[in-house]
């Protein structure tokens, strides 16, 4: 992880870290903080606790997003301080809706100059974001709206499993991990476990991201904590509740960053510090998918 973040995410990069409630790569976020990256623009539908941490640590100077908050809890206080009071620095916002963001990634991933969608009419969003424009229907119907492609410099994508070559498989909520990866100039795949090529190739329909477009593969079990990885661990809801109090108080927030990020060598240390009791409380039971037969045609 250290090497991947160091070499693939220079200061000033436009970085997407997606994962819709699921597979949010906190491990990479913490590494960005640990390496004191500067002036990053974070692309993410839902800047949540990870964005609050990056904002508090001074790593990000802008957000491209559609919903910001601590899901199920309330506000991101560090982000709000920066937006409402430029405290300690302003945070540049480029704001869409969820579908607008997904459409931007899709255009970026598809080599399209724009993506059309039936949204935004009557909303004030186009007034505050000139990149949201109307487009004529070439068949003479009502105009619709369009958004431009989003092509991050680098996408960091957490998945359940990947091969050493970067073929990445996801189950549960896929969000827009695939689109954000294909849209990016460089791709870092972070996984719960690295598996053999054979495991990947025994179920090729699950491969959402091919190694072909991947620049680095990092194994970081537990790397989504406090969010979750389907089948591996649950969301740590108490953490989200605790974060509200931490994030309200800049002193506590700085202490938290020091204790849980700066003073730790890597995510393995974070995982260990959380302790086995906490991890086992988050472990789900078994709910196997069952198998299908691809057939041996040799």
């Amino acid at each position: 992880m250290r090497e991947a973040i160091d070499s693939l995410v220079p200061d000033g990069s436009v970085v997407s870290i997606e994962g819709f409630t699921h597979l949010i790569c906190f491990a990479a976020g913490h590494e960005l903080i640990r390496q004191r990256k500067k002036d990053l623009t974070l692309c993410r539908l839902t800047p949540d606790v990870i964005a609050d941490q990056l904002a508090a640590a001074g790593v990000i100077s802008g957000l491209v997003f559609s919903w910001l908050g601590n899901p199920g809890v309330g506000s991101l206080h560090a982000v709000r301080r920066r937006i409402e009071g430029s405290d300690p620095r302003p945070l540049h916002l480029e704001e869409y809706s969820h579908f607008g963001m997904v459409a931007r990634y899709t255009a970026g991933a598809s080599g399209l100059p724009f993506f059309p969608l039936r949204s935004y009419a009557g909303s004030d969003l186009p007034a505050v974001n000139p990149k949201i424009v109307t487009i004529q229907d070439p068949y003479g119907g009502q105009p619709v709206y369009a958004v431009p492609p989003l092509n991050p410099d680098v996408s960091i994508v957490h998945v359940q499993r990947a091969s050493a070559g970067g073929d990445a498989q996801i189950w549960g909520i896929p969000g827009c991990q695939k689109e954000s990866a294909f849209a990016a100039g460089r791709v870092i795949v972070v996984c719960e476990e690295i598996v053999s090529d054979e495991v990947i190739r025994s179920d090729p329909n699950r491969t959402l991201i091919p190694g072909t477009i991947v620049d680095a593969v990092v194994e970081a079990p537990g790397g989504c904590h406090p969010s979750y990885a389907q089948g591996f661990y649950d969301r740590d809801n108490p953490f989200y509740l605790e974060w509200d109090a931490i994030s309200r108080d800049t002193g506590r927030l700085d202490e938290w960053l020091e204790e849980w990020v700066y003073s730790l060598d890597d995510h393995a240390a974070y995982r260990e510090k959380l302790g086995s009791e906490r991890w086992s409380a988050l472990s789900p039971g078994d709910a196997p998918s069952g198998q299908v037969n691809y057939g041996d045609y040799s």
Binding site: F20, T21, H22, L45, T46, F65, S66, W67, L68, G69, P71, G72, S75, V79, R80, I83, E84, E95, Y96, S97, H98, F99, G100, V102, A103, T106, L117, R118, S119, Y120, A121, G122, S123, D124, L125, V128, Q142, P143, V144, Y145, G172, I173, P174, G175, C176, K178, E179, Y228, Q230, D234, R235, N237, P284, A287
Partner: protein, 244 residues
């Protein structure tokens, strides 16, 4: 049986889902309303979440829109692109729930900022999927706590439009508003008091509205939550996370 104003809101919303098939669910009160409706007036209700989950049947109270318990045992789990394209924009959603920090007489909603956009007094979460939901779901149900702070003459920011005339969407806009005081429908695009919860007066509604609220020719009084409804609800949220 005694009940809280929130329980009354959930029950009123659930009853309005009678016969509905495909419902776009939000976390919290909408989720409780849909779960209650599925166990009462709308057994065929399909719970659809913007996280890409279709036909969820969660084994526990989901705490986020993408809770892992929504996925397990669902009918289908898909990408957000497919969810927004093939379900919402295609017109498959019969009813969608939206919350609001501010709502106006046309059912337009603000969830973006209080104060000016560039330098807000309070930065709110933003649209999420609300603007496309508002425009493309067949009907929108708005659930909101009613006060002069939330029912305002003029929104600080229009996040999601209500009845504002022709749009790029395919839906019919807001159909119902449920608050702790009563329910409202839209007559010629204007929010109109339709029913009052037990013990609530029209004056309470007027006092909690920042404009002159229209009133239906026949305002009904809602039946209090039945013990069956309350049993189901309290089982769904035993720790009263949302049923405060």
């Amino acid at each position: 049986m005694s009940y809280t104003p929130t329980e009354m809101m959930v029950v009123a919303a659930a009853r309005n889902l009678a016969g509905v098939r495909n419902c776009f669910v939000g976390i919290g009160i909408p989720n409780l309303a849909c779960s209650l409706a599925k166990r009462s007036v709308a057994p065929d209700l399909e719970l659809i979440y913007e996280s890409g989950v279709v036909g969820a049947d969660p084994a526990r109270l989901p705490l986020s829109i993408g809770d892992p318990s929504l996925v397990v045992g669902a009918r289908s789990v898909t990408s957000m692109f497919d969810l927004f394209s093939l379900y919402l924009q295609r017109g498959l959603i019969d009813v969608a729930f939206l919350g609001a920090a501010q709502v106006d007489r046309n059912g337009s909603i603000n969830t973006t900022v209080l104060g000016p956009y560039e330098k807000p007094d309070v930065r709110l979460p933003g649209s999420g999927g609300a603007v496309e939901i508002a425009l493309n779901a067949d009907q929108v149900f708005i659930i909101v706590n009613q006060s002069r702070r939330t029912f305002v003459e003029k929104l600080d920011f229009v996040t999601s439009p209500g009845h504002i005339g022709p749009t790029t969407g395919r839906g019919n806009g807001p159909a119902l508003v449920v608050t702790q005081l009563g329910t409202f429908r839209f007559v010629n695009g204007e929010m109109t008091l339709k029913s009052l919860h037990p013990g609530v007066s029209r004056e309470q509604v007027f006092d909690a509205t920042g404009w002159e609220m229209s009133v239906d020719t026949a305002v009904e009084e809602n039946e209090a939550p039945t013990s069956d409804e309350l049993d189901v609800l309290r089982n769904l949220d035993p720790n009263r996370v949302y049923l405060k």
